[in-house]
C-alpha cells in the first residue's frame, strides 16, 4: 500500500490532442479517490497513465517514493479492474486469478491460498472451475475484482467497473467495493462518469473537465460548495438550477439576493433546496413565481418543472411525495439564503463570500490533502 503523487501530469496525443493538462494530486495511503467527469474529460486517460498503459508526456508520477514514469504496468505493482472485465476467455476462473501470480513466480501453494481467500471473500469460490462465459455479468465483475485482489498490490485502479451491470447489481457491487476497500485499506483510484457512484464511494472526489481538475474535495464538500459552474451542474441530480443575477434582481422577491457577494452574476440553486409555497416576505429568502410545466413522479419524490414568470427560464424543483399541482397552474417557490450558490459567469468559478471573485487557474488545480 502506498500513496500516489501526481505532479503536473500532461498527456498529449499525436496531432497535439491534449487529453490531460497539468493535473497535480496527492493521494494518501489507503484513500479511495474517485475521478469523475463527462466522457472525454481525461479521467480514463489519467487512470491509464497511472496504470502505465499510457505514456506520460510530461510531469512526474510517484507511487510511494518511487518515480514510475518509465516503468511497465507490471513493475508498478498496481492492479486494474477493467470496464469490460477483460477476463481471459479460455482460462477457468481459477487460472484467471492465478495468472498474474504465476507470472510473478509466486510459489504454488501461496497462489492456491491467495486465490481461495479472494474467491471466498468475493463469493465466487463455487465458480473457480468455470470459464468466464459461463458466468453472469455480476459474477464476471467479481472475478475481475478477484484478479486485482489476489495480487495484493500497492494500489487498485478501477476503470468504470460497474458500468456494464444493471442498476440493481450496480448498487450492490458499489457497496461491496466500498466495504472491501475499507477492509483492505488499499489505496484506490476509481474512474466513473456516474456522479452518484462518485458521491457514494469516494473519500475524496476529483471532478475533471477538459483535462484539468475542476475541484477536489470530500463528496459532501463538493456537493455543498461546488467550486465552479461545471461542478455545480455535474454533481447532483437533477442538476442545479442556474439563474442569471439580473433576473433575480428584477423579479426575485425576498431579501436574500441583496446578501450575495459582489461579482456574482449567476446563482445556482439545487432542486432540493427549493420549496413550493408562499413565505413570509420579511424572511431572508429568495422568492420566485412560475408556472408548472410538468410534474414527473419518481417514486418517493417528484420533480416539478417550472417556467419562471417573465423569463420562460426553466427551473426544476424536487419535493418529497407527489404534489397536488396541476400542470399550467401558477405557484410560488422559495429558497433559503444559505441555499444560494454565487458564481461568476465569466470565470465560471464560485464567488467567495467574503472577497470578490478571484482564484487563478493554478489555485484550483492544486489540491490540498
Amino acid at each position: 500500500m502506498a500513496s500516489i503523487t501526481m505532479d503536473d501530469l500532461h498527456k498529449v496525443y499525436a496531432g497535439n490532442v491534449k487529453a490531460v493538462t497539468g493535473v497535480s494530486l496527492d493521494i494518501a495511503d489507503g484513500e479511495l479517490i474517485v475521478l469523475v467527469g463527462p466522457s472525454g474529460c481525461g479521467k480514463s486517460t489519467l487512470l491509464r497513465m497511472v496504470a502505465g498503459l499510457e505514456t506520460i508526456t510530461e510531469g512526474t508520477l510517484k507511487i510511494g517514493e518511487r518515480v514510475v514514469n518509465n516503468l511497465e504496468p507490471a513493475e508498478r505493482d498496481i492492479a486494474m479492474v477493467f470496464q469490460n472485465y477483460a477476463l481471459y476467455p479460455h482460462m477457468t476462473v481459477y487460472n484467471n486469478l492465478a495468472y498474474g501470480l504465476r507470472n510473478r513466480r509466486i510459489p504454488k501453494d501461496d497462489i492456491e491460498r491467495r486465490v481461495r481467500e479472494a474467491a471466498e471473500m468475493l463469493e465466487i469460490a463455487a465458480f473457480l472451475d468455470r470459464k468466464p462465459r459461463q458466468l453472469s455479468g455480476g459474477q464476471r465483475q467479481r472475478v475481475a475484482m478477484g484478479r486485482a485482489l489476489v495480487r495484493e498490490p500497492e494500489a487498485f485502479l478501477f476503470d468504470e467497473p460497474l458500468s456494464n451491470l444493471d442498476a440493481k447489481l450496480r448498487v450492490q457491487m458499489r457497496v461491496e467495493i466500498r466495504q472491501l476497500q475499507k477492509r483492505l485499506g488499499t489505496t484506490s483510484l476509481y474512474v466513473t462518469h456516474d456522479q452518484l457512484e462518485a458521491l457514494t464511494l469516494a473519500d475524496r472526489l476529483v471532478v475533471l473537465n477538459g483535462g484539468v481538475i475542476e475541484q477536489v474535495g470530500t463528496p459532501m464538500d463538493v456537493y455543498r460548495k461546488p467550486a465552479s459552474v461545471f461542478v455545480a451542474g455535474f454533481i447532483g441530480s437533477p442538476a442545479m438550477n442556474m439563474l442569471p443575477m439580473a433576473y433575480l434582481r428584477e423579479k426575485g422577491g425576498g431579501a436574500a439576493v441583496g446578501h450575495l457577494p459582489e461579482g456574482t452574476d449567476l446563482v445556482g440553486i439545487r432542486p432540493d433546496d427549493l420549496i413550493v409555497g408562499a413565505v413570509d416576505p420579511a424572511a431572508d429568502a429568495l422568492v420566485l413565481n412560475g408556472t408548472v410545466v410538468l410534474v414527473e413522479p419518481a417514486g418517493a419524490e417528484s420533480h416539478i418543472y417550472l417556467s419562471l414568470a417573465g423569463s420562460k427560464q426553466p427551473i426544476t424543483v424536487r419535493i418529497a411525495g407527489l404534489p397536488e399541482l396541476a400542470e399550467g397552474s401558477d405557484v410560488q417557490i422559495h429558497a433559503a439564503r444559505e441555499a444560494l450558490h454565487p458564481f461568476n459567469e465569466e470565470t465560471g468559478r464560485r464567488v467567495a463570500s467574503s472577497a470578490p471573485a478571484s482564484g487563478s487557474r493554478t489555485d484550483r488545480v492544486h489540491s490540498t490533502s
Binding site: A74, I78, M80, L87, Y88, P89, H90, N103, R104
Partner: protein
Amino acid sequence: MVDNNRWGNFFAHLVLILGVAIVVFPVYVAVVASTHPPGTFVRGVMPLLPGPNALENYRTVILEGRSRAGTPPIGGMLWNSFVMAMAITIGKLSISLLSAFAIVYFRFPFRIFFFWVIFLTLMLPVEVRIVPTFEVVANLGMLNSFAGLSIPLIASATATFLFRQFFMTVPEELMEAARVDGAGPMKFFKDILLPLSITNIAALFVIMFIYGWNQYLWPLLITTDPNYYTIVMGIQRMVTGGDSEPLWHLVMATVVLAALPPILVILFMQRLFVKGLTETEK
C-alpha cells in the same frame, strides 16, 4: 427455417442430390476402376460395377510399386507427401501467426507498408513466380530435398491476413490486462492469443494441409530423385512413365490411397474446422 413447402423441399433435395452425384461420380469411378483386373481397360470402356481384383491391386500398389515405370512403392511417396504437407502447414501457421502478431500488436516504422507488401504477394500465385523460385532453390542446392519441397511454399499472405483480422477482434483490454498481470509480449502471445486462435488455427491447418498435399507442379519441377517423389506427382509418373498403356487399375488404386490422408485430416479436425469457420467466440 424456411417454409415447409412440399415442392420446395422436393426441388431442394433434387438439386442437392444432383450436386452430390456430380461430385461423387468421378470418385466412384476411381474406386470401381481400382478393383478390376488389367484386361478390363483395353477395350477403352470404364466399368461402372466393382470387379474382383480389389485386394490384389491394392497389395501390388502398396507392396511392390511399379518398378517398371520408375516409381517407388507407394509407401515412400505417401510419406514424402505427408512430410511435405506437414512442413508447409506448420511452417505457414507459425510464420503467419508471428507476422500477424507483429503487425497488429507492435508499432514499428513502415508497419503498414510491410502489411501491404505481404498483402500484395496474394496476387502472385505459385505458378507466376515458379521460374525465379526454381532458380533460387536450385542455386541454394535444395533440389531433391524436403527443404526444397516445402520452404518456398511456406510464406502465406492469406493466413497472415486471416490471423490479422482475427487478432484485431480480440479486445485490447485483454492485452492490457496481461500487461498488468506481468506478461511480456511473447508470453501474451503464447498464453492468450494462441489459445484464443485455436479454432482458426485448426481451420487453416486443414486448408493448408490439403493445399500442401495437393502440390503438383512444384514437386514435379524440383524432384528428379524418385526418393523424393510425392504421391500426387507419382500418379502422373505412373500414367506417362511407361512405354505401354497406363495400368489404370493400379493408377486408380494409387489415386484412392492418395485421397485418404486429406480425408482423414478433415474427419479428425472437422469439429474444430467448422467452429473456426463459423464461430467467433469471444
